[in-house]
């Protein structure tokens, strides 16, 4: 049930596809825990600094208002913040999550209201057990409130340059002389494959010699099956060197490469 990772792909009328990646129930639970703490904090603040001051003058009214306001806070906290912050509460902001319409459109007030009202069902019997189970069985990790309101909670991506520190010192990349093959390689390799090669280089020192050789041999064969570079460019490279060259070609833009070289230069000076 839970291992399957589903993305929501939306094709715009212009013919362009973009994907939304649903946030896992665990991430959502963490975000909710933050929100819950905020609600408790605000309730305590109200009790301590507002209602305790008027309780002497009007105890009945004070207790009534406190009861009403804490219930309203519990029901309306997420509603209000998701409306004014485009699908985000404090907890969701912290964990880079966002509630979105399932069609990728804007959240409507009715969607915000209904998904939050149905917390009454999802939070049963304790700690969102019903909602948690529902989201585990849903391909887009939707709790009942999300399913009725047609919303999903997504992870917001960051735009960052890949961190290439730790892949080893690189003086010369013999494959760089073949730009047309580099283009072909970049087209053929999936992000997951590129990431596996990068992780292998990062963790190479934790492997023993035999495993390390075997791993890089297999990676070399795999990347060779994707794009074949001329024999003279790869003849003198070890498997590990070949994979390192591939990773550099996949990840390094010129800018990255310069930064990379600067970093190496600094490392050398430090040493």
């Amino acid at each position: 049930m839970y291992q399957k990772k589903t993305q929501l792909r939306i094709r715009t009328p212009e013919g362009i596809c973009f994907t939304l990646e649903p946030a896992s129930p665990l991430m959502r639970f963490f975000a909710w825990s933050i929100d819950f703490l905020v609600i408790i904090g605000v309730s305590l603040f109200l009790q301590q600094f507002v209602f305790n001051h008027i309780v002497a003058a009007a105890p009945d009214l004070s207790n009534a208002l406190y009861l009403f306001m804490t219930s309203a806070l519990y029901l309306c906290y997420a509603m209000w913040l998701e409306w004014i912050w485009n699908g985000r509460t404090l907890g969701k902001r912290l964990f880079r999550l966002r509630v979105m319409d399932r069609q990728g459109l804007h959240l409507q007030p009715s969607q915000v209201v209904i998904r939050n009202l149905l917390r009454v069902i999802d939070s049963l019997p304790l700690f969102y057990l019903v909602g948690g189970l529902a989201s585990c069985f849903s391909p887009l990790y939707q709790r009942f409130g999300d399913q009725v309101a047609n919303t999903i909670v997504i992870k917001l991506p960051r735009f960052k340059v890949p961190d290439l520190t730790g892949i080893g010192e690189q003086k010369f990349n013999s494959l760089r002389s073949y730009p047309h093959l580099i283009g072909r390689l970049r087209k053929a390799v999936t992000p997951a494959e590129a990431d596996i090669a990068l992780q292998a280089l990062r963790r190479r020192d934790t492997l023993d010699h035999r495993e390390r050789t075997e791993l890089f041999d297999r990676l070399r064969d795999h990347f060779k099956s994707k794009t074949t570079f001329p024999e003279e460019a790869v003849r003198t490279s070890s498997s590990e060197q070949y994979v390192r060259n591939i990773v550099e070609l996949l990840y390094c833009t010129d800018q990255n490469e310069n930064n990379h070289m600067v970093r190496f230069g600094q490392d050398k000076k430090n040493h």
């Binding site: 009328p13 973009f18 069902i121």
Partner: protein, 349 residues
């Protein structure tokens, strides 16, 4: 296609930044107004970034840039292609004098079903207590109803409402919050294809029927009416309307005779659910106030005729309100909003 990624990013980055600035402006203030020139520029940037994303799609080894562009295109898409108007804060007046009674009437068949189920429950509860008066301790959840009606009335008359003195507001508040949660629950149980909603309404009917018959058999009809009618004339219909909302939800889930996809059916009824439950919340706030400050005071504090007249007037006004208010204007019929983009789920791993 072979693309010089570095050159591509360097050339296009200013446009992406400009589009992002537009998006931040739009997302910060929902009422951000653009002049025509800005709108045209925004649309141009959206199309250009979409084209960039299309070009980059073939470069699977550029996941970060692609993710960033997908994010920009997705956010812009939401701004440009949203066909629905976001309506919040159109006013309580609109809800009370237009939307709520209109929506109630639009789904009147669900209300009738709810009414019938509650009445069957009431009949069942009444018959059970009539056949076996001892069963009320099992059926009724409130301990103060387990004693005989005569005992309770004697105690209340002696007490003259002193028991609640100084706590009326707190009592009203707890009634409101509890009842609103129960009403939301009844609506939410519509996701069980209405079975949960109908069970909860049936049980409410059982309680109502059991209590009513218990008091009627003890010849305490005046007390019962004077006690229940002032707040019950609003509270009971409020629960029925919450159940009606639950059945509206169930109807969308079942989709009998409607060939549109489930997601679109649910999307179409969401505004109606919000309006119905909003109206119910207002009714329950009123009912909570009346129950705490009026219903709990009996003769000799407040004469029964006054309480019964008040409750009957409320009920008549409510019937008049729900059946006639807002009927002059054209009522909005729920429609399935058009799906502008194509949505698919992709299982990656």
């Amino acid at each position: 296609m072979i693309l010089n990624i570095d050159k591509f990013i360097a050339e296009e980055r200013p446009n992406w930044n400009e589009l992002e600035a537009f998006l931040v402006r739009l997302e910060k203030g929902k009422k951000a107004h653009f002049d025509l020139e800005e709108i045209q520029r925004f649309h141009y940037l959206y199309q250009r970034t979409s084209a960039d994303l299309g070009r980059l799609m073939t470069f699977s080894a550029e996941p970060e840039t692609r993710g960033y562009l997908e994010n920009l295109v997705g956010r812009s898409y939401a701004e440009i292609h949203e066909p629905r108007k976001a309506r919040l804060g159109k006013g309580l007046g609109r809800l009370i004098f237009k939307s709520f009674p209109q929506t109630f009437r639009r789904h009147i068949r669900s209300f009738y079903l709810v009414l019938v189920v509650t009445l069957i429950g009431a009949g069942f509860g009444g018959l059970t207590v009539a056949n076996n008066p001892e069963s009320k301790t099992t059926i009724l959840p409130f301990s103060h109803l387990h004693t005989s009606p005569d005992e309770r009335i004697a105690r209340e008359m002696e007490d003259k409402g002193e028991q609640l003195s100084g706590h009326q507001a707190q009592f009203a508040s707890s009634l409101m919050t509890h009842n609103i949660k129960v009403a939301i629950f009844a609506m939410g149980l519509g996701i069980t294809f209405g079975i949960g909603t109908l069970i909860s309404l049936f049980y409410n009917g059982v309680i109502l029927g059991a209590v009513s018959l218990d008091y009627l058999m003890a010849d305490q009809g005046a007390f019962l009416t004077g006690w229940l009618l002032p707040h019950g004339s609003i509270e009971i219909p409020a629960f029925l309307i919450a159940g009606q909302a639950g059945l509206v939800l169930a109807g969308a889930m079942i989709g009998h005779g409607d060939r549109t996809p489930l997601a679109q059916r649910l999307r179409a009824i969401l505004p109606d659910l919000m309006v119905l439950i909003g109206g119910v919340a207002i009714m329950l706030i009123w009912a909570g106030l009346i129950e705490s400050f009026f219903s709990q005071y009996h003769e000799p504090v407040i004469p029964y005729w006054l309480k019964i007249s008040f409750g009957a007037s409320e009920l008549l006004l409510l019937v008049f309100y729900l059946t006639t208010v807002g009927s002059s204007s054209r009522s909005h019929s729920p429609s399935h909003p058009p799906a502008v983009g194509t949505v698919t789920q992709v299982v990656t791993r």
